[in-house]
């Protein structure tokens, strides 16, 4: 049964994500986050979206997580960061948000379970996605590119000041 693959990937995703949220060391959490993203990519593939699965691996697990890895390595928190987190993070802090999220989850499950449907067993090929992307969704593509340009300028601004101050501090 191929549907078992979906449940295995879902279990891997949920357990890896739980570990991300609870880790004290940022680099450990990052590796678990990459595992979680790869498992989600498997689910995308099973849902008949191979192009989205490829994007998940290449852009999410590849590019965005590499940015995180760069920053974590650059800040070099290591043991100091773990000690800091241990000081901040008391077990009773999990109670409030956990209860609220649990209530929301129960509500969502109740709403979702009240209607049943299955996903269509068809693959949506990249060709079809591309035709729709550069046809009816052309304006959305342009808006996304403007958003990325704004983010580029913002990141350049913050990063440039950081590097300049570091250089002055070194002299």
């Amino acid at each position: 049964m191929e549907i078992v693959l979906f449940y295995i990937a879902g279990a891997v995703t949920i357990s890896a994500t739980c570990l991300v949220v609870t880790r004290l060391d940022a680099s450990h959490a990052l590796v678990y986050l990459i595992v979680s993203l790869l498992a989600v990519a498997v689910i995308f593939y099973l849902l008949g979206a191979p192009f989205a699965a490829a994007l998940e691996v290449v852009i999410y697990a590849g590019a965005i997580m590499v940015l995180f890895v760069f920053v974590v390595m650059m800040l070099n928190q290591g043991r100091r960061g773990v000690a800091q987190e241990r000081g901040i993070l008391q077990p009773r802090m999990w109670i409030g948000p956990g209860v609220l999220s649990g209530v929301l989850l129960l509500e969502m499950i109740y709403l979702i379970a009240s209607q049943t449907a299955t996903t269509a067993a068809v693959v949506v090929p990249p060709r079809q996605v591309g035709i729709a992307l550069f046809g009816p969704y052309l304006l959305a593509v342009e808006l996304a590119s403007i958003l990325l340009l704004a983010a580029l300028i913002g990141a350049f601004h913050f990063g440039r000041r950081y590097m300049r101050d570091r250089r002055e501090g070194a002299e």
Partner: protein, 104 residues
Amino acid sequence: MIAISIPLEHVLVLAAVLFLLGATGVLVRRNVIFQLMSLEIMMNACGLAFIAGGARWGAPDGQIMYMLVLSLAAAEVAVGLGLVLQLERRFGHLDIDQASELNG
């Protein structure tokens, strides 16, 4: 290539679990890097819900919305990590509560 019909509600429950795990992370953690990671988890859950919706109808629209979520996540991470660097430089640690003292 395989595409199997998976019960839609199971995928949506998985997306809801992931989203709420991310929300719990944002609420509980005070380290900015962990909060950014939790935001990534939440956006990824949104993408999963979009893909599930697209797969329900066999239409490409879900994948296109997923791509837009992806570009939003990339933009958010770029600016967020720039802010993390500034925060670390000014205060020497990544406690989000210290960000209330940021100005200029």
